[in-house]
Amino acid sequence: MAEAVDYKVIGTSPVRPDGVDKVTGRAQYGADMNLPNMIYGKVLRSPHAHARIKSVDLSRALAMPGVYAAISGADFPEAQHGEIGGEGGGDVADLAKNIMARDKVLYHGHAVAAVAARSVQLAEAALEVIDVEYELLPPVLDLDAAMAVDATLLDENCFTKNLPEKPDKPSNIAAVMQLARGDVEAGFADADVIVEGEYRIPMAHQGYIEPHACTASVNEGGQATVWCCTQGHFEFRAMASKVLNMNIADLKFIASEIGGGFGGKTVLYLEPLAILMSQKSHRPVKMTMTREEVFRATGPTSGTHCKVKVGAKKDGTLTAATAWLAYEAGAFAGAPMGPGAMSIFAPYALDNFHIEALDVLVNKPKVAAYRAPGAPQSMHAMECALDDLARELGMDPIDLRMKNAAEEGTQAPYGPKFPAIGFKACLEAAKKHPHYTRPVPEGAGRGVAAGFWFNVGMQSSAEVHINENGTVTVVEGNPDIGGSRASMCLMAAETLGVTYDQVRTLIGDTESTGFSNVTGGSRTTFATGMAVIQACEDIIAQCKARAAATWGVDEDQVEWEDGQAVPAPGVNADVKPLSLADIAAKAARTGGPLLGRASLNAQGAGASFAVNIADVRIDRDTGKVDVLSYTAIQDAGKAIHPAYVEGQMQGGAAQGIGWALNEEYIFNADGVMENAGFLDYRIPVASDLPMIDTQIIEVPNPSHPYGVRGVGETPIVAPLAVIANAVRDAAGQRINDLPFSPPRVLAALDNA
């Protein structure tokens, strides 16, 4: 483990610079943009989960006074296949058809047409007079039905990818993926104990509080400005350009503040509709989804069906493991089965394994990223199986994990050998944690489980401006979701040697700063932070050059210490140190304003591991599960702003607990979601949760100047299995499927 570094600013938890505006209501969110002559757009959504569109007639809507534009799939350029690019990837044609259906509707709520009118009410009235003729098709609503030999096809041109040979017939299985190493049969033959489990988890939504919203204004020259809530305005601009066949230079995207995304706001839905209708109406068009639309028509995460088999020696050494992982993609290919497959065994040293993962089309909304996409579902299966294995072996579940824990040099199931990682440090901390050492409350159950996520780097840009008085303005291009402005300020202050309150960070729009990939993949503090650090180093180099010119010495005779240019040791110069303010004040004489910049494609994102502990109690009369206590332990590499790292850990735990206990899409036989609102789709509220205790482990990432690992996604991976294992302990039996809603738990208890 690397030695601790004595930082001056990093590792403190100052108040976030955007906090006052957010708590006083001044901050501008997606729906807060208002412009002169603005009109309002609404979307007509399919009442059917699967149907051919025979015709769409907009004429009666367009004839209504006060209606300025109406569009359907026919108003879009022909959907062209091609790479979306950016963080999430995928196919442009699928994206375009998800934004507005063309020949088929593929889920209940799929957009069929849109209207812009002088009021929301008038737009909604106009939707009612749009005539759509459908030819109904049977909906395909679960994995088993979708994979049946005689299944109704969502896409007659979908041939399973990654098979040794292109199949003869189309299928709802869009792709398969396999990972394998060693000899699985021999591994199981070598095992003293083998456990198997089969687990189903239904589709669940990210549950961000702010619905999708945007305003688009297209001028007579064809140039569009779009204000929207997004995790990445540069990637939104690129997607809109491809879907609408517009020159990217004619699109300007401005990110509003964002009320949560968790991966769900990396996908374009409303913006192309608003742009098209602004083009047609010559007015700004504002569009805001209702909560019901968010549930029905934006990307949740996959429902899954996972099977796991694990073998071990009596001493707990894992000898072999297999996994079969089926993921619902929703209406278009692209379930997170790849990262799910690559994650499932990642925390463990395994010589023999085989993993098969499937990307399966069903007549449900197309899934989108959700914190560590794919990993919570697959790792739930493995971590439950390990819990069962520990019981079979009579071993402490943390000891079993420690026995097999990956460490530096362990070959990950997805290929490379791990550099320095913190999994063992997390396990050691969990074993010693007061939560784990104290007795389980009477009548309760305790569970532990591990979490893992890769984290990514990708492209980021940053500029650093030194103002006339030496204060610092950082400009970068990542919407601030989890407090990244504060983290950027901290890293800039540390690098430059100034105090936190001397630095401000702005989020530039697509015309005012360099390209950055989305705020996602736990990349912003890591990658954009690296860009900010490098831009500050650019400033320092310039300051040293200007100090050298001022003092009449060579540049290599100047050093930067504590925010000042000073003569290097041994340099005979009778001069006063020059602070950032001193140099800025004389900038006109020494070369003009000080501007540092950096752009990079950050490599070396460090994998992050977590171990969580929970105590739960089951009400045996109602089946309700109460979480009594919860502890999240995670390797952050280096916590730049510890309070925000803890916030990520607590938020991920809260979301994961909700997913485990209650959250699920409930569809009727026609494919209509029956619980499209927060009253019936029950996310946890404060009274449902105990205080989430946290412990940050710091095993620095050797690839980052300050040791940062991404921290935003790993926190949601362990909670599903932690709660499942705690429920197993409390109930005295394994309940394999999530969520642990009272009816399911009660039924299991009654059947025991």
């Binding site: 995304g261 560590a372 050998k417 550099p419 996602g520 736990s522 490599q603 690839s703």
Partner: protein, 80 residues
């Protein structure tokens, strides 16, 4: 010679070869060498992430390779 491994779902591209040794000084040279060995592979491989000696690159280009480097092609990681 760098040791190169491809994931199972790309074996159709490599005629079933999972692991090969290639002489290359950097990633670009490696892709060129693999294209000669597995025609039309470079387009697909360039879309993969790659781990070189444990370091994962989403978009590798001129990253240097040592004679004993270990290179794994893998699916690009997305996140939320």
């Amino acid at each position: 010679m760098a040791k190169v491994e491809v994931p199972d779902h790309l074996l159709t591209l490599t005629g079933g070869e999972r692991e090969v040794e290639v002489s290359a000084n950097n990633f670009r040279e490696l892709l060129i060498a693999l294209e000669e060995r597995w025609p039309e592979s470079s387009v697909v491989l360039a879309k993969c992430a790659v781990a070189i000696d444990g370091q994962i690159y989403q978009d590798a280009f001129l990253e240097p390779l040592r004679p004993d480097s270990e290179v794994f092609f893998m699916q690009r990681i997305e996140g939320g």
